[in-house]
């Protein structure tokens, strides 16, 4: 009995010291916090913002002498917007598609309704487009959007309900078809055909890339231009080819200040500076380096620009109207995507 009691004390002592140690460790983690910004971003920008954030911290230190940390969170654009709506303390959002920031503005009022007019180029510091990633040698001969509906072509694309990349792909296919005959019904049907060839719908652009590149599923991955180049870098240029279609969509991943959050945290100045920084030559050069299309081409390195080929880009707003209408027509409950997947099953 005595022995057991002693053992019990021993166990308790170990338990207590473990507890204390872990508490101390956790406390240390919290104590080291300084000014920190949180950038809630979409899926493929992980590598980009790692570099941008480091550059901004350096710039901020040089200008103000203060140390700043920019934290980032990534995921499907819709899912990320949802976390901000539910209360993630984001200072800035840099999402994949305007309608996601609209949703935050509409549901929380933390972002002013006219956010697109607050920053240059309708709050879009860089643009991008959708290109095709195919297996080496392009065995299925995919050259243009029309090839995606061939019966033997398997298309990998993310779920447009949750992913901005998925929505741009969807809209790009629609825009291509619409530009052929200016017939919306035919364009709807064309998109339906494309999605009949889709075997996997991941929730984010990253999931789709992993499915295509790592898991070897599908023949073509319509994806963000930057994402396609990243795959070549990460998986080796000997496995894949990038095919730029003759025409594609003008994709605008916008940025905005989450005014209410920043104000409450007292970070408005730094957050605004962060967004302004995205328009500086230094940031623009970093965008080009990561294969995004900078809005100030003159700031980018020539070699980086040379990798971004001339593609005829169309704006979906010119074809379908405002972003409210685009979202409602295609992606809201009962919209085109819902109707297509119901019919296509």
């Amino acid at each position: 009995m005595k022995n057991a009691a002693a053992r019990g004390r021993g166990i308790r002592a170990i338990g207590l010291s473990l507890l204390a140690g872990a508490g101390l460790w956790a406390g240390m983690g919290l104590a080291s916090a300084e000014t920190a910004l949180l950038n809630v971003s979409y899926d493929p920008t992980r590598e980009l913002y790692r570099e941008i954030n480091a550059a901004f911290a350096e710039d901020w230190k040089a200008k103000t002498g203060e140390t700043i940390t920019v934290r980032a969170s990534h995921g499907g654009s819709g899912a990320q917007a949802r976390t901000v709506i539910d209360g993630v303390d984001a200072d800035v959002v840099t999402l994949g598609i305007p309608s996601d920031i609209d949703a935050i503005a509409r549901l929380t009022r933390k972002i002013p309704e006219d956010w697109r007019s607050k920053l240059p180029n309708t709050a879009t510091p860089y643009t991008s487009t959708v290109v095709f990633l195919v297996r080496k040698g392009n065995p299925k001969g995919v050259k243009d959007w029309a090839d995606l509906v061939k019966p033997d072509v398997k298309v990998i694309t993310p779920n447009p309900k949750t992913s901005a990349g998925g929505r741009w792909n969807f809209l790009a296919a629609w825009g291509y078809a619409y530009n052929q005959d200016k017939d919306a019904a035919k364009a709807d049907a064309f998109v339906g055909q494309v999605y009949k060839n889709v075997p996997v719908l991941d929730t984010g652009a990253r999931g789709s890339t992993v499915t295509f590149a790592q898991r070897g599923l599908g023949d073509v991955l319509p994806t963000w231009e930057n994402e396609a180049y990243l795959v070549l870098q990460e998986f080796g240029a000997d496995k894949f080819d990038i095919v730029s279609p003759p025409s594609s969509i003008y994709a605008e991943p916008p940025v905005a200040l989450v005014a209410a959050n920043a104000e409450r945290k007292g970070t408005t100045k730094a957050a605004q500076a962060y967004l302004d920084f995205l328009y500086t030559d230094r940031a623009q050069a970093i965008f080009a380096k990561h294969h995004y299309r900078p809005i100030k081409r003159e700031a980018a390195a020539r070699a980086d620009l040379a990798q971004l080929p001339e593609i005829k880009l169309f704006k979906i707003e010119d074809l379908q109207g405002s972003w409210d209408e685009i979202q409602k027509r295609n992606f809201d409950a009962g919209g085109l995507f819902d109707r297509l997947s119901r019919a296509g099953r």
Partner: protein, 293 residues
């Protein structure tokens, strides 16, 4: 539902006679069972380690040079350090009330404690979003008072406590029920205070069962993915637990690192299994299971 964790105290099998299968049948059945387990259970574990070391030990270690990996480890430990003791206290209180006393509605109470077992992890996370999200029931009140629950430590802890809620209680209730109240009553009659009787009589009786349940509770708390993923917000270096960090690395094409960090959790799982087996072999009589209730 507690049987699920049961260790097995098997009576030594007598040499086969009329009441057993033939040697050939037996060999085939053993073969099928072992092959099935190897294929379904052991191979995935094996895959984790081969992938983790597929680019050599240097690449494996690189995964742990990332400060984000360490902050994930720290967060996971912090969550476990809060959630597990909470469930221990709850489990002790619940099993004391349920096992040592008779009152109406007891089986309903046990069923309610069991409930988190069968709730989808996603739902477990989501219920807290509905309560504490800024669109949720208490959302605006929390914002007004500057309290952050969701997408911060409290939310992750709450979701973890929820999914591990039944673990300790469900091990201790049958154990205490079996032990009855005679020893405590004797101690009390001899003049011990209630707390003293609990510490010197009850606790030693249940210590191995308690340790056993803490082990399983901890494994689940550190490994929970679905529930935590809904409430975490996935902020690097801040609200990423180890399982979420694995997912992030996986999504960054950093497969070696993803599997390296995953192997950390796999090792934890192996340690849990070893300790658990040791407890079962040595103290089978002092655990709640292994005997048909």
């Amino acid at each position: 539902m507690s049987e699920i964790f049961s260790p097995i105290a098997v009576p030594a099998a007598k040499p086969a006679q009329v009441a057993s299968e033939g040697a050939a049948t037996r060999a085939i059945l053993i073969g099928i069972a072992v092959a099935f387990l190897a294929l379904f259970l052991v191979l995935p574990l094996f895959a984790v380690f081969t992938q983790a070391f597929s680019k050599g030990i240097g690449a494996f270690l690189d995964a742990f040079r990332e400060p984000d990996a360490w902050s994930a480890i720290r967060l996971t430990l912090t969550v476990a350090v809060i959630a597990v003791p909470f469930n221990v206290v709850f489990g002790l209180a619940a099993s004391w009330a349920i096992a040592k006393f008779e009152f109406p509605g007891k089986s309903l109470l046990i069923t309610l404690i069991d409930l988190p077992f069968s709730v989808s992890p996603v739902v477990s996370g989501m219920i807290y979003v509905l309560l504490f999200g800024s669109q949720g029931l208490f959302g605006s009140w929390l914002i007004d008072h500057g309290i952050q629950i969701l997408f911060a430590l409290p939310g992750i802890v709450l979701a973890t406590v929820f999914v591990t809620f039944p673990f300790v209680a469900r091990e201790l209730i049958p154990l205490m029920q079996e032990q009855g109240t005679a020893e405590e009553e004797a101690a009390l009659t001899l003049g011990a205070s209630g707390l003293h009787a609990f510490r010197t009589v009850t606790l030693p009786n249940i210590r191995w069962g308690l340790l056993y349940s803490v082990l399983l509770c901890n494994a689940r708390a550190m490994g929970e993915f679905g529930a935590v993923s809904v409430v975490s917000g996935h902020i690097r270096g801040l609200t990423n637990t180890i399982p979420l960090h694995v997912e992030i690395l996986y999504n960054e094409y950093n497969f070696v690192a993803a599997f390296a960090v995953a192997s950390l959790l796999a090792v934890l799982a192996l340690i849990t299994l070893v300790l658990k087996s040791v407890l079962e072999w040595r103290f089978a009589g002092e655990l709640a299971h292994g005997r048909a209730h």
